[in-house]
Structures are given as structure tokens and as C-alpha cells.
């Protein structure tokens, strides 16, 4: 099969999977969801990494270093802030509940 067809199939399927997964996220977690997806779209850093070896000239190198830096900000900052935020969500009487859950 043409690689474009495969890519488009992945695109469409991923859209449906994303829709199914994210629909179940409750309102309470919408802000962590947004910062978490901020981290996930940091995946564009791969684009910068893939093109770096093939870049020619100063302009392209600068553009790609900025792109890699931007992507890294997203990945590192996004996951860290989400982790920090999620740590704040506490159930009533957390120690008891954890014991009950185990």
C-alpha cells in the first residue's frame, strides 16, 4: 500500500481513538488534560530532530534549534506542570481511602 494511504489511515484512526479516550475525561480534570496535551503536542520536537542532520546553512540551523527548544519546552514543561497539578487533586481523607482501595 502507498505510504500516504497508511499515514492517512493512521491519522483517521488516531482521531477516533483520541475522541473515544478524551470524551471520558471528567470536567474536574480539564485543566490537567489541557496541560497534558500541551506536553503531547511537544512531539513536534521529533520533526526538529529528524531534519537537523539534513539542514544546510545558518538560517535552517537556527530555525531548527528554536523548533527543538520550543518542542522541549512543551514536553518537559507540560509533563512537569501536569504532574504537579495532579498531585494537588486529593480525595477526602486520602490515607484511609488508599488503604481501602488496596
Amino acid at each position: 500500500m502507498d505510504s500516504l494511504v497508511i499515514d492517512l489511515a493512521v491519522l483517521v484512526l488516531a482521531g477516533f481513538v483520541g475522541y473515544a479516550v478524551i470524551s471520558k475525561v471528567p470536567n474536574t480534570l480539564h485543566t490537567p488534560l489541557m496541560s497534558g496535551t500541551n506536553a503531547i503536542h511537544g512531539i513536534v520536537v521529533l520533526g526538529g530532530l529528524l531534519l537537523m542532520a539534513e539542514s544546510h546553512g545558518v538560517l535552517e540551523k537556527i530555525l531548527l534549534v528554536v523548533a527543538v527548544a520550543f518542542g522541549t519546552i512543551n514536553v518537559v514543561g507540560g509533563f512537569l506542570v501536569t504532574d504537579r497539578m495532579l498531585g494537588m487533586f486529593k480525595h477526602k481523607d486520602p490515607p484511609k481511602d488508599e488503604e481501602a482501595g488496596q
Partner: protein, 486 residues
């Protein structure tokens, strides 16, 4: 002998593709953990692991470090990104989360636009000299889509950041009449037109940079400038979707499965949130993007009689304390005013004081309360309010009839009964917290200024409503002190 062999194996395309599949599997699994607060921390870490696998696999690729400077440039980029990202994530206050998310959306979109620019130069400016990167139409279309949408997202997010950070005024800024929409349309036509001309085979660097990147940049600015502060939940979600979709488009152009899947997850997430926010405002996304709804956030107005001529009953902290202390159930309905006054910790103290007097306290969270989806939940979580006390609109509405006192802190339009009762009202049809069903309502407000929508709230003139004017944080602290003194 075994070492070189295994090194070779690690660099094969099959192995790297397998890593990519593991990576997006981990990301999807991680995101599905976000369905509940208990599993969310683990879910986020799983997604981060998936991201790490994807990055490491990319760096293992053979030829990745081709060229003497490549390794250093990659290190420089990652070090700069980490140096900016880590302190930002560590130090940001929860009240500033909307700005932070806007900024993160922006840099993601910016990265996509820059990558598209480099891809374009590879395709054209070097005259197709690189055999691994020909510039077939299918790459071109997705790359140019990424350039346009990524650029819109970058500049739009910067404006959203400026508005949320109050560097720019929160009120809508727009050209008179329909000139704004016309100009936006012209810019979009130029950008898309340039893309079509480029796809048709013109190799113009100028057309790409000026026609696409610059037009999309101006368009991004013009799209967000006319949108008022309270519509920010929709705008941030929309820009989130844009960034995700542009990342997925870049993934197709580079034929990289993990970029496609990750981009589409973000695109789906942003789309769902945009849709939910727009529904919670009973407005369509196009009408929000057209902007100009509502006036200033803080219209100066004196306390006392309002525009509709009804009388408003002002009360004191001591009276409120008595009312709350002798209630069985109190529902707190917070809004953007609570975030502005940073009153979440004071609210938590009041909740504790009331619980000591055996009063049941719950929180009613409207989906668009605040400046981003879930804004109130995060603020209250920061103040150690257990999340199971936070109720969504549909859960809490049936409870208001059993509630003795509803305490509204800095919320207005989301509690306005005109949305239910007055077909002529601009917000008619918007789902609201039905606070007017509770036995008594206390509104904490700075002044009699109308809400963001500039619509008078009949709730304030209801005989069972009393108003406590002043800064939300100070008012809540006063009430808490009075409750404890009782």
C-alpha cells in the same frame, strides 16, 4: 562482535518503527488514565515515558548525527528548552495556568511552523538535491497546512497569553463593523492561495514566507484580539486543537506515525473541549471567533439600585455567618472573581469552619467558570479542597432545592436565571447553575457591575438574595472569622 551487531540492530528502521508504536501506545494508555483523579498521575507519567521512548528512538536513527555540528545543535535546543520549561512548570501559580497553557500552545504551533519552513527550503530552495526528501504534492499539502495552522496558533496564543496576563486589555479589540471579518477572510484567502500556488509548482521563497507565514501570523493576531476575556475557555481549547492538528499534519508530511497519533490525540482533545465550552455558553464556535461579544469585564458601577430598578439587599459578614452556620447544606458557586481575588484558600478555611459546625458544604462548578476548562477545579485542588466535594452542573442542579444557602463567589452570568426565564435575553438558553432554587442566596461581589456579558442579573433583585460587597478574599475571611466566633 556482539556489540557492533546490536548497535546496528538498534539503528534499523524496523526497530525504530517498533519503538514509535510502543511510544504512541504508551501515550494513548497514559491519556486514558486521565479519566479519573486517582489514575491520572500514573497516566501522565506513562505518557511522558512514551514521549521519552519516541525521542530516544529518533536519536538512535542511523544518520541522525550526520554532520559535525548536529549533535551540538540538538543539545543546545534541548538545553534551552529544558532551562525554560522546568522553572516555568515548577513556579507557575495555579491562578496563572490559563496563561501557561496558552503559551505552551503557542510554542507548539511555532515549532510546527518553523519545521514546515525548513521542510519547504529542503523541498525547493535546494532544488530537490536531497534524495531522501523529495517534495511531492502529498508532503507539500500537509506541510503547508502545518505552516498556516501552526503560525495562526503561535500568534493567536501569544495574544491570548497577553490578554490573560493582562498585558493587553481583556476587552474585545476590533475594527468597526464587519471590516474585521472581511480582513480576516482576505488574509485567509491570501494564505491558502499562496499554498495552492506553491503546490502548483511555483518555487517562490517570498510567496512562502510572506504569503503564508506572515498572513497566517497577522490572521492569528486578528482572530484572537476581538475575543473578550470570558470567551477565553473556548479560544484556548480551539488553539489547542489547532496546534495538535498542525502537529499531525507535520507527522503525515514526515511520514512519522508517532507524530500523527500524538497530534490527533491533541486535536481530538482540543475539539472536544471547544465543543463542550461552546455548548456550556449556548453559543456557536464561529460566533465566538467572530468576537466582540460583551464589553468590559469590570464596568465601573456604584452599588445600590441596578438598572432594572429593583432593590438590592446588602448584608454584612456577621449576618452571612449566622445564615451559613445554621444551614444544613451550603453550596458554594465560584467564578472568575474567586480566581482574581485569589480567594480559594480563604474559601477552603470557610468550608472547614462550617464543617466543624456540621454544615454540609459542596461546590457547584459551571463548565465555563473561569478562564479555561477546569480552572475552578484546579484552584480549589490547590487549596486542598477534596475533589469529591466539587460537583458538575448537572449533578448539583437537582440539589439546589434541598440547599439552605448558596454562596456565590465572583460568578455572575453562569447563575443568571434570565438564561432560563427570559427568551429575550442574549444568554437565553445557556445552561446555568440553578441557584435561585435554593432557600437563600448570598452573592459576594465587588460592586453592582454587570458580568462579562453586560447583562443585568435578576438574581440580585430576588427577595431571597442578599449581597455582600467587597473583595472576595477579604469578605470570605471576614465570614470565616464570624463563623468561628459564633
Amino acid at each position: 562482535m556482539s556489540l557492533p551487531l546490536s548497535t546496528v540492530f538498534l539503528q534499523t528502521t524496523n526497530f525504530i518503527d517498533a519503538c514509535y508504536i510502543v511510544a504512541f501506545g504508551l501515550m494513548i494508555y497514559g491519556m486514558s488514565g486521565l479519566t479519573g483523579p486517582r489514575t491520572a498521575v500514573r497516566g501522565n507519567q506513562t505518557a511522558a515515558l512514551g514521549m521519552a521512548v519516541a525521542v530516544v528512538a529518533t536519536l538512535l536513527r542511523s544518520g541522525e548525527f550526520h554532520g559535525s555540528s548536529t549533535v551540538w545543535l540538538i543539545i543546545v535546543g534541548i538545553v534551552i528548552g529544558t532551562a525554560v520549561g522546568v522553572p516555568a512548570a515548577r513556579n507557575v501559580k495555579m491562578t496563572a495556568m490559563p496563561q501557561m497553557v496558552a503559551l505552551f500552545n503557542g510554542v507548539g504551533g511555532g515549532a510546527v511552523a518553523l519545521i514546515a519552513w525548513v521542510e519547504y527550503r529542503h523541498g525547493f530552495a535546494h532544488g530537490n538535491t536531497i534524495p531522501t526528501h523529495p517534495w511531492p504534492l502529498r508532503v507539500e499539502i500537509f506541510e503547508l497546512f502545518g505552516a498556516i495552522v501552526g503560525s495562526i496558533s503561535f500568534w493567536g496564543s501569544n495574544i491570548a497569553f497577553g490578554k490573560l496576563q493582562e498585558i493587553l486589555p481583556g476587552r474585545p479589540i476590533k475594527l468597526p463593523g464587519s471590516a474585521q471579518s472581511a480582513l480576516n477572510l482576505v488574509l485567509l484567502v491570501i494564505a491558502v492561495g499562496s499554498a495552492v500556488v506553491l503546490c502548483a509548482g511555483t518555487h517562490s521563497q517570498l510567496l512562502f514566507i510572506v504569503g503564508i507565514l506572515l498572513c497566517a501570523a497577522v490572521l492569528g493576531n486578528l482572530l484572537v484580539l476581538p475575543i473578550g476575556g470570558a470567551d477565553m475557555p473556548v479560544v484556548i481549547s480551539l488553539l489547542n486543537a489547532f496546534t495538535g492538528l498542525s502537529a499531525a499534519a507535520t507527522g503525515v508530511a514526515l511520514s512519522n506515525p508517532v507524530m500523527i497519533v500524538a497530534g490527533m490525540i491533541v486535536g481530538a482533545s482540543g475539539t472536544i473541549l471547544t465543543d463542550q465550552m461552546a455548548k456550556a455558553m449556548n453559543r456557536s464556535v464561529p460566533s465566538i471567533v467572530a468576537g466582540g461579544f460583551g464589553g468590559t469585564v469590570d464596568a465601573p458601577a456604584a452599588g445600590g439600585a441596578g438598572a432594572s430598578g429593583g432593590t438590592v439587599r446588602a448584608t454584612s459578614a456577621a449576618d452571612v455567618a449566622i445564615q451559613l452556620s445554621y444551614a444544613r447544606q451550603v453550596v458554594v458557586a465560584p467564578g472568575y472573581g474567586m480566581a482574581v481575588a485569589q480567594a480559594q484558600h480563604a474559601v477552603r478555611e470557610l468550608q472547614r469552619a462550617l464543617e466543624e459546625k456540621n454544615v454540609t458544604v459542596k461546590y457547584a462548578i459551571h463548565p465555563v467558570a473561569g478562564r479555561m476548562p477546569g480552572h475552578m477545579n484546579v484552584l480549589l485542588a490547590e487549596a486542598d479542597v477534596p475533589y469529591d466535594l466539587l460537583r458538575e452542573m448537572d449533578d448539583i442542579n437537582p440539589e439546589f432545592s434541598r440547599t439552605d444557602v448558596t454562596l456565590i463567589i465572583g460568578a455572575n452570568d453562569v447563575t443568571n436565571p434570565a438564561a432560563k426565564n427570559e427568551p429575550g435575553s442574549p444568554i437565553y438558553g445557556m445552561p446555568i447553575l440553578e441557584v435561585d432554587r435554593s432557600a437563600a442566596v448570598i452573592v459576594l461581589k465587588r460592586s453592582m457591575a454587570s458580568g462579562f456579558a453586560g447583562i443585568d442579573n435578576p438574581l440580585f433583585y430576588d427577595p431571597k438574595t442578599s449581597m455582600l460587597f467587597g473583595d472576595a478574599k477579604a469578605s470570605v475571611s471576614d465570614i470565616t472569622a464570624e463563623v468561628q466566633a459564633l
